[in-house]
Amino acid sequence: MAFVTLLPQKTEIEEGAVSERVLDVENLSIEIPVVGGMLHAVDNISLHVERGETLCIVGESGCGKSLTSLAIMDLLPKKAIRTVNKMSLNDENILNFSEKQMSNVRGNKMGMIFQEPMSSLNPSFTVENQMLETLSRHRNIVGSQAKDLVIQMLEKVGIIPAEKRLRQYPHQLSGGLRQRVMIAMTLLCEPELIIADEPTTALDVTIQAQILKLMKGLQNDFNVGLIFITHDLGVVANIADRVAVMYAGQIVEEGSVFDIFDNPSHPYTRGLLSCIPVPGKIKRGEPLGSIPGMVPSLVGDFQGCRFSGRWGDAHEQLDGADIKLASTSDKSKTYKVKGSETHLIRFCCEDCLKKSYIFDKRKAS
């Protein structure tokens, strides 16, 4: 998936147009007690998704993408501690929902698709059984009416003829088919929000492309908000409206797909982008970039910078980029990148900010 296209996929949400916020999360942190102390897996992140919008969360393995999505579904492991200031779905505050209320929301107003199609379906029940139970749970639809709906939905995700698949068990389906079944299952109750956690990572490249195309189409048809988690920037360029770049439990940069690809501002984003060959942006024969150093351990009282020592030559990577920052508020370390209202960048400390300025000034002189 090395190929990146930066053509506009969808018209940008226009300034002033009425946008409906499907999901709004503010100041989410997740801590997990582990042997050595407290693991600060997710640190104070905020994100939102509009109706019909695709938000891609990118970041390397272990940066907390899955935990974030599980936190939104309220499906975190028991020992994980979630703190969050605001969590609303369609302007409804779901933060203080009881488990029972949440279970009415899950699978109904928001659904989730997981990375492993091979193990995400119950091996002991047929496709039909597993799909019908969602309908009867949330819509109280049973019998032939439910079956018709299931068949329709399976056909919508490209399983044709669907009839034959109904009586089959997951092990009789290929990975791609299973993922299609998962998608159909998630769409059954026509949710407002779908969270897809690396839905294509486990699939063959050709199947990946098919599933991706399918999801893009369906998202348009159903006009849902989609959070698409991946660590594949090629996929991001393909599907995202907005991008949140996660690093070590924090969102370090957030903006429209154009902001991120055309004007990556955080050194980590620049590093990520330099890891993939971008046609036209990297000259032939030039070595591919990689981010030096390692993700720090997030166990214990974490002080200082999470990106420490990994700046590398991120500065030099992007000739011509012009980063100017405007402070959004005094206290937070989140800044707007000049030129775009939605392009945000977060620095963990002043030092970092200064380095960016230095870069900025040197370019200017």
Binding site: L75, E99, R106, G107, E116, S120, S124, E133, T134, R137
Partner: protein
């Protein structure tokens, strides 16, 4: 499924044949049936006469096939002690043992499966600790001693239950508890670990992400998968239990096949012992065969290839 069944059946037959040969050989090698038959007062000449009369002087394989042929037709020979057909004798005693076995395995399952599930739902909770305690106790408790203690405390001190015989269902209570408690720990542990394992799978996460209610997630999606290995284990335990009935039946004077085994062993009644070993083994083999079939039927990954 048909192919699987046939393959499994052939294996079962082969195992049965081998077991019968081993048990025959074991008793053949370790004793002289002619001496046992003739009794302790017989002279050497008498013994020799019996040996020739019953063909004990022929090679072991010949004798084995002879015995096997008759065993296949349901004739297990005559008991030296009771002087009746071994098959009839066993047939007469088997119902008591079966009743005991069925009661005991039911008791064991009713005790251990719910406990195992409850323990898995809340690891390290009070229920989990109780379950662990019961299973650790159960594994260390010698069943003969447990039985005697029950007699001393329940029957004699509290006068709650009859101590011996098989006349009423009350007579089966203590033997059932002793035998069942012997099988319970293994079933409970397997249920617990199986449930824990299944509860951490991706498909349970999917079920929860679909908003299914906790009972549906637990009992439909989790238990259905966790129970598959438990079925096999219960069958195995049932088989072991019948073998273990010998101790329990002796103590509670239940006149079942186990008691018969003890009687005939102490009396050197070889044909009966041989017949009993064969019957118990066959029973185990049939049980595990059906357990495997149930297993395959429960697990679509085996049922539908």
């Amino acid at each position: 499924m048909l192919y699987y069944t046939l393959k499994r059946l052939a294996l079962a037959a082969l195992v049965a044949l081998t077991v019968s040969f081993i048990s025959f050989g074991l008793l053949y090698l370790s004793s002289d049936p002619a001496i046992a038959m003739a009794g302790e007062t017989a002279s050497d000449a008498d013994i020799e006469a019996i040996r020739q009369l019953y063909g004990f002087d022929r090679p072991i394989l010949v004798q084995y096939f002879d015995w096997l042929q008759r065993a296949a037709a349901g004739d297990l020979g005559k008991s030296y002690y009771f002087r009746t057909d071994v098959s009839a004798l066993i047939g007469e005693r088997l119902p008591t043992t079966m009743t005991l076995g069925v009661c005991a395995i039911t008791f064991a399952i009713l005790l251990s499966v719910p406990l195992g599930v409850a323990a898995a739902i809340r690891p390290n909770s009070l229920v989990d600790r109780i379950a662990l305690f019961l299973s650790v106790m159960g594994q260390a408790l010698p069943s003969f001693w447990f039985a005697l203690m029950l007699i001393v405390f329940l029957s004699v001190s509290l006068r709650l239950l009859p101590t011996s015989g098989s006349d009423t269902w009350l007579h089966f209570v203590m033997p059932t508890v002793v035998l069942g408690y012997y099988a319970a720990p293994a079933i409970m542990r397997l249920t617990r670990t199986g449930m824990l394992e299944v509860l951490s799978t991706d498909y349970i996460r999917t079920a929860r992400a679909k908003g299914l209610r906790p009972p549906v997630v637990l009992f439909k999606h989790a238990l259905r998968n966790a129970i598959i290995p438990v079925v096999s284990l219960a069958a195995v335990q049932f088989g072991f239990m019948l073998g273990g009935s010998i101790v329990v039946e002796t103590i509670f004077a239940l006149h079942g096949a186990g008691f018969l085994a003890w009687e005939s062993i102490t009396r050197n009644d070889l044909p009966t012992v041989q017949g009993l070993i064969l019957v118990f083994s066959l029973f185990y083999i049939v049980l595990t065969f059906f357990a495997d079939l149930i297993n395959a039927w429960l697990d679509p990954r085996i049922r539908i290839k």
